[in-house]
């Protein structure tokens, strides 16, 4: 191979000599460069190259500094070549500047080129160039002006901009188009490095935008893109202009010169589309101006050239960014489909990117392409694979998190790129933390893998937040204990194995956890832990940071006695360490191990993780801490519409502003508290839906919030719910790998169909109550008062009663005010929390036996002291007797305990009435106090108050969760609150719907949301169809309208009156079911329940 080169190169001089008859200088110069290049090619080692180049540089230096050298230009090219190879030729910088100053046009050009390659904005020599640039800008020679403008836009000292600004400005009026264009770009550069210096010429930018030459106009778009990005509001008035320009471009009004592969000015179109999407974002009226031209762009860009896809991609992104229009969305979705399905890999990549971008608004689209996504997951191209993971990351919910994390970890194992590793490790950790205790063991194991794979490259906040999570714990003490114990259990074998292979960060985490929690494992002797830890100290590759973590852990563990020898030895070793931190720790260890009393005072068990001061600071208005990778994410917003909780950006800050305007300080601090709490940053309103933009819901009707959790499924149970989501019909048996893929698909895309999209978008799926983080500091709980106004004081001292009475009377008198207040509260909840998927209307239920003090919209019935004095024995049976009389005849669900603290016990059940679903909440005072005077409305010791609420579902989901808070006052006067959540299956809201076959027919055609699925038939008797339908009818309260031959039609409604129609047909041993409803998601949810109903038979 190398002799090919050699022959080529040896041929070089002879060829050159033939060619270059006019000047011998050319021969010598080129052959010198040729010699240099040939010399370099012949070398075998880096070292030789270095020697050769140094030699060359010396030669250049010598020639360059000799006076009246005629080969300056050639010498410069040689210096450029050496610099490109990474060898510094700093001696030539000054000569380059001289050349630019004094040379002929040709030399000037090389001089300028060399300067722009050698120097940078902050280089001191650059000041010497300012005068040259000034001179050249004033030159009559266009080439010189162009060169000056080029070098100015490459780099120019910031302080010197005022000196040349007037000259550059002047060039905007230059008759030559190319000069105007370069001047515009130079000004753009100035705008980037010193925006305030060019403020006064903004109107000139407008002039450039209106320039008669399209090239100048194109150049000015760079500036506008930047300025609009920074402040879209200021340029809304330009929207029609941009639209008109785009219309003309798309319509082919530009000269043919601007065509590229018959596409008119594609780069210009791309730029304009980007500008339009920035302008139309969150702005309906502006968006409406551009619908037409977007539609036209989409239609025109149908040719099969690469560049048309570039335009299409921008178009699609724009359509999904601006205020939505349904038919455009449909077309855009089709486009994305074309991208994803394209055999061209670049288009597939962009398709995935587009999907990632839109999946938060339209998760169904991901569902449509699930098989393609699965294929991409196994794609040989790692980039495609990673992009797919990015997409999956955005559709993660509580049900598919384990599968997705598994896929990510798989990828991590094969990834070699540091950047990817860091990024993915961060994402896995984020997911694991977001759905932490769903499966305790899974969480710990995942984090273990993260730590061992991520090594020491990962973001330092990952181990920190992991430890924080462990130490702060969750609401349930038992869960916390289990989690910590599991962590300890998993670390001990790791330390017994080969701890030398573990990354330092992981070792630090391990030693901290062992120090804090190894006492939880009873069969573990502290002495053993100590010796394991001591082993870490002896390892060669342990960093001193790790060692100090280990020493700290040992300090926590040592109890004197038997352990003393180990600690003594260690502390002696390190008390003379050169590292001051280590020495300090060693001394601490030494003293504390000898003085157990002091140790108990200094390091009380469970003292860790006291972050109360953080919440205090937050309550005082401090900005919440954001870890670096979050900040990075925020920077990345343009990459994808960042609706994920960590993208704590504009929407949330806006919503908290509105809260500030209208709400009490408590809520204000609540919102800041929320933003400080990384687990629950779900603050995005749902503004998108299948039918497009969702109008801002009138908050007045939201008196109560019902949250919809994902149906919690253990991994084992996941499968059964899954098949429902896979869209491919399962009729024909599929080949084995195909089936595997489908299985994977169903486990990945579980929950996408049945859940309302918002939960995917914001990943805001609410965790069940026990997984909620403890409300720290100012108490998140207070915000939930909004949900259900059970805020009457249940236990209060007599003195507080009057006050309370007043308040309550005031409330009931001034119902509208209350409603407003409530709505504000709920709205703030919606925005700050973003978790509500369905709202239940809290209607006034009966007010039987109520006391004036409690004449509220919801009635809390105070009952007399219970028959049992021991709260522990107050069982469900006796709660039964508290059921309001008018409900007692109806069937009610099991009375389930909700939550309890030392003074209150909450239980609830739901009762199905014909036209409503009543939630009955039993509030039992289990404390000993407040028995003396009993004004009605208080709940005396061991008595029960009953509240009832009528629930309605606004947005269907598989399960509906009601979240509420009971606020009450203790005798001491301190107000407290108790949160609860209660889950109701959607089926409880389903009622039969009696229609005639004709009515059914007309309705069927008018409903837009549908889903199809094959269900199993019950085959135990002659009439499988009737049997199956009857079973469904019995289980789900459906109404069978008619059965004709092998087909049956069924109807039901969701309370109050949201119909859902079902068409069933027996086909090849399956029951092919087709559901239609005007309500999105209702068919999906219902089919889930049908499936469950049939399975449970």
């Amino acid at each position: 191979m190398s002799d090919v080169v050699e022959k080529t190169l040896t041929a070089l001089p002879s060829l050159l000599s033939l060619d270059s008859h006019p000047g011998s200088a050319k021969l010598s110069s080129t052959s010198k460069l040729g010699n240099l290049i040939r010399g370099i090619t012949e070398l075998t080692s880096k070292h030789e190259e270095e020697k050769l180049i140094q030699h060359e540089l010396l030669a250049i230096k010598e020639q360059v500094s000799s006076p009246n050298t005629t080969m300056m230009k050639e010498l410069m090219v040689r210096s450029i070549y050496c610099e490109m190879l990474g060898y510094e030729a700093s001696f030539s910088y000054i000569h380059a500047i001289k050349l630019a100053q004094q040379g002929t046009v040709l030399e000037k050009r090389v001089g300028y080129l060399a300067v722009s390659l050698f120097l940078n904005e902050s280089h001191e020599l650059l000041l010497l160039l300012v005068n040259t640039v000034l001179k050249d800008l004033q030159s009559t020679n266009l080439i010189e002006v162009c060169m000056a403008l080029t070098v100015v836009s490459q780099m120019f000292p910031k302080d010197m901009i005022p000196a040349i600004l007037p000259l550059v400005e002047e060039k905007l009026n230059h008759p030559k188009e190319i000069i105007r264009r370069k001047a515009v770009l130079a000004l753009y550069k100035f705008y980037l490095i010193a925006p305030n210096q060019v403020q006064h010429i903004h109107n000139k930018f407008r002039k450039a935008l209106c320039d008669k030459d399209p090239g100048v106009m194109t150049a000015s778009l760079h500036i506008y893109l930047q300025m609009i990005q920074e402040n879209p509001e200021a340029y809304k008035d330009l929207t029609p202009s941009f639209v008109t320009i785009l219309k003309q471009v798309v319509g082919g009004k530009l000269p043919m010169d601007f065509n590229y592969h018959t596409v008119p000015a594609p780069w210009l179109q791309i730029q304009l589309l980007r500008i339009l999407s920035l302008l139309g974002k969150n702005d309906q009226s502006t968006s409406e101006v551009m619908y037409e031209v977007l539609d036209e762009s989409l239609q025109r860009a149908e040719m099969n050239h690469n560049i048309t896809y570039a335009i299409l991609y921008e178009c699609v992104k724009c359509i999904y960014t601006i205020h939505p229009k349904s038919d455009l969305l449909e077309k855009a979705a089709k486009c994305i489909g074309n991208f994803v399905l394209s055999p061209k890999i670049n288009l597939k990549y962009l398709g995935l990117k587009a999907l990632t971008y839109v999946v938060q608004q339209d998760p169904k689209l991901a569902l449509q392409h699930q098989m393609t996504i699965i294929e991409c997951l196994d794609h040989p191209d790692l980039i495609i694979k990673r992009e797919t993971l990015e997409l999956l990351f955005r559709i993660t919910n509580g049900q598919n998190v384990t599968v997705i994390v598994e896929k990510m970890l798989e990828f991590l194992c094969i990834s070699e790129d540091d950047h990817t590793t860091i990024d993915l490790v961060g994402k896995v950790a984020e997911l694991a933390e977001k759905y932490p205790l769903k499966y305790n063991e899974w969480f710990i194991e995942t984090m273990n893998t993260v730590f061992s794979l991520g090594g020491d490259m990962m973001q330092p906040d990952i181990p920190n937040s992991f430890l924080k999570l462990l130490s702060e714990g969750f609401d349930s003490v038992e869960e916390d204990r289990k989690l910590r114990l599991f962590a300890v259990n998993s670390y001990i074998p790791l330390l017994r194995g080969e701890p030398g292979k573990l990354p330092q960060r992981f070792l630090q985490v391990i030693s901290w956890v062992l120090g804090e929690y190894s006492h939880l494992r009873e069969d573990l002797e502290p002495a053993e832990v100590l010796s394991l830890l001591a082993k870490l100290l002896d390892m060669k590759n342990s960093s001193s940071e790790t060692k100090s973590w280990v020493l700290m852990a040992m300090t926590k563990l040592c109890k004197g006695g038997a352990d003393a020898s180990v600690t003594q030895e260690v502390s002696e070793t390190y008390s003379s360490s050169l590292d001051t931190v280590l020495r300090q720790r060693a001394h601490e260890l030494q003293y504390l191990s000898q003085d157990p009393e002091l140790r108990a005072r200094v390091l009380p068990r469970g003292s860790c993780g006291n972050f109360a001061f953080v919440s205090e600071a937050l309550a005082a208005g401090a900005a919440p801490y954001k870890p670096p990778h979050q900040r990075q994410e925020e920077l990345d917003q343009s990459k994808a519409l960042s609706l994920e909780p960590y993208g704590l950006s504009l929407p949330i800050s806006m919503s908290s502003c509105s809260i500030t305007d209208r709400q009490s300080p408590t809520l204000l601090s609540m919102s800041s508290g929320l933003s400080g709490d990384t687990l629950k940053l779900d603050g995005i309103k749902r503004v998108w839906g299948r039918e497009g933009y969702l109008a801002q819901r009138e908050p007045v009707e939201e008196a109560a919030q019902v949250e919809v959790p994902s149906p919690i499924q253990s991994p084992g149970r996941q499968g059964e719910g899954d098949s429902l989501h896979s869209q491919t019909p399962t009729q024909t048996p599929t080949p084995e790998p195909e089936q595997e893929k489908q299985q994977l698909a169903s486990s990945l895309f579980v929950g996408l169909a049945s859940q309302s999209s918002v939960s995917l978008m914001g990943k805001s799926e609410p965790m069940p109550q026990r997984f909620r983080r403890k409300a720290k500091g100012q108490g998140l709980g207070s915000s939930f008062i909004a949900n259900e106004q059970i805020s009457s004081s249940l236990i209060s001292p007599p003195s507080a009663v009057d006050n309370l009475l007043c308040n309550n009377l005031l409330d009931s008198n001034n119902a509208s005010e209350l409603a407003e207040q409530t709505s504000q509260l709920s709205q703030s909840l919606t925005t700050a929390n973003g978790t509500c998927h369905a709202e239940a209307e809290l209607t006034e239920s009966d007010t039987k036996g109520c006391n004036p003090a409690l004449r509220r919209d919801n009635c809390v019935v105070a009952a007399g002291p219970g028959p049992h004095n021991d709260p522990g024995r107050l069982t469900e049976v006796c709660l039964d007797s508290y059921l309001p009389a008018e409900l007692s005849g109806l069937s009610h669900s099991e009375i389930a305990p909700l939550c309890a603290n030392q003074s209150l016990n909450l239980s609830a059940c739901h009762v199905q009435k014909e036209d409503s679903l009543i939630l009955v909440v039993f509030i039992m005072n289990s404390s000993e106090s407040a028995i003396q005077q009993i004004p009605a409305g208080e709940v005396t010791s061991y008595s029960v108050a009953v509240g009832q609420y009528s629930l309605t579902v606004k947005r269907p989901a598989v399960h509906v969760e009601v979240v509420g808070t009971v606020s009450y006052q203790l005798p001491a006067g301190t107000s407290q609150s108790l949160q609860f959540s209660y889950k109701v299956p959607l089926t409880s809201f389903i009622r039969p719907f009696v229609v005639s076959t004709e009515e059914y027919g007309t309705m069927w055609l008018s409903f837009s949301h549908d889903t199809k699925q094959n269900l199993t038939l019950i085959n135990d008797n002659q009439e499988p169809l009737t049997a199956t339908l009857n079973a469904l009818k019995k289980k789900l309260q459906l109404h069978v309208v008619e059965v004709i031959g092998m087909e049956g039609i069924v109807a039901c409604r969701l309370l109050q009156d949201l119909p859902c129609l079902m068409h069933c047909r027996v086909n090849a041993g399956w029951l092919a079911v087709w559901l239609r409803s005007p309500v999105p998601d209702l068919p999906d949810c219902l089919i889930y329940h049908c499936q469950r109903a049939l399975q449970s038979l």
């Binding site: 191979m1 190879l85 990474g86 002929t104 040709l106 550069k189 791309i270 962009l350 990459k639």
Partner: protein, 191 residues
């Protein structure tokens, strides 16, 4: 914005490097090495986009590259650039080079680094795309060349006609050198 434009051959030897953002000398070399490392191990049938690369700026940055015969053309851009747009810009660049050098090959780029830079300066200015029309670019470059000629500069003229004859015959190929535009290398050679 375009952050850097790099051209290197199949063996990682840089043929042109232009940074529109300031990095120090060592970082620049590291970027070139890292980019080559990332790009060179990619198969022919994978996508032309690469993400990551710690040095040049992390997650917001993207490498968009094309492989022509012996050369890799890599544009390093941030998220404000359209991926496919840049991909076609590379094509425009190479086609322009091909027109200016007539069947451009790697050697043209080595010996005329300055000229390649000048062509590039007409396309991309300070990191912004200035001109995408090939004819326009050539007109501009020609205009400059003419200016220089009119100064009667005696040697090393930039006239295209002179350079046209600067061709290298390779063994096994008749007369003409292998054009860069060919997407697959036929006879890999080393320089």
């Amino acid at each position: 914005m375009i952050k850097a434009i790099l051209i290197f051959n199949n063996h990682g030897k840089p043929r042109l490097s232009k940074f529109y953002e300031h990095y120090n000398e060592d970082t620049e070399q590291q970027i070139i090495r890292e980019t080559f490392h990332l790009v060179s191990k990619r198969d022919e049938n994978v996508c032309n986009f690469l993400e990551g690369g710690m040095l040049i700026g992390g997650s917001d940055y993207k490498l968009i590259y094309r492989h022509y015969a012996t050369l890799y053309f890599v544009f390093c851009v941030d998220s404000s650039e359209s991926e496919l747009g840049i991909l076609d810009l590379i094509q425009v660049f190479v086609e322009t080079l091909d027109k200016c050098f007539e069947n451009v090959c790697e050697l043209d780029l080595i010996f005329h680094v300055d000229k390649v830079h000048n062509i590039l300066a007409e396309m991309v200015m300070g990191g912004m795309v200035l001109e995408t029309n090939m004819n326009e670019i050539i007109t501009q470059v020609d205009a400059q060349n003419k200016m220089e000629k009119s100064e009667f500069f005696p040697f090393f003229s930039f006239s295209l006609s002179l350079y046209r004859r600067l061709s290298f015959s390779l063994p096994g190929r008749t007369g003409r050198h292998r054009p860069v535009l060919q997407e697959r290398p036929l006879v890999p050679y080393q320089l």
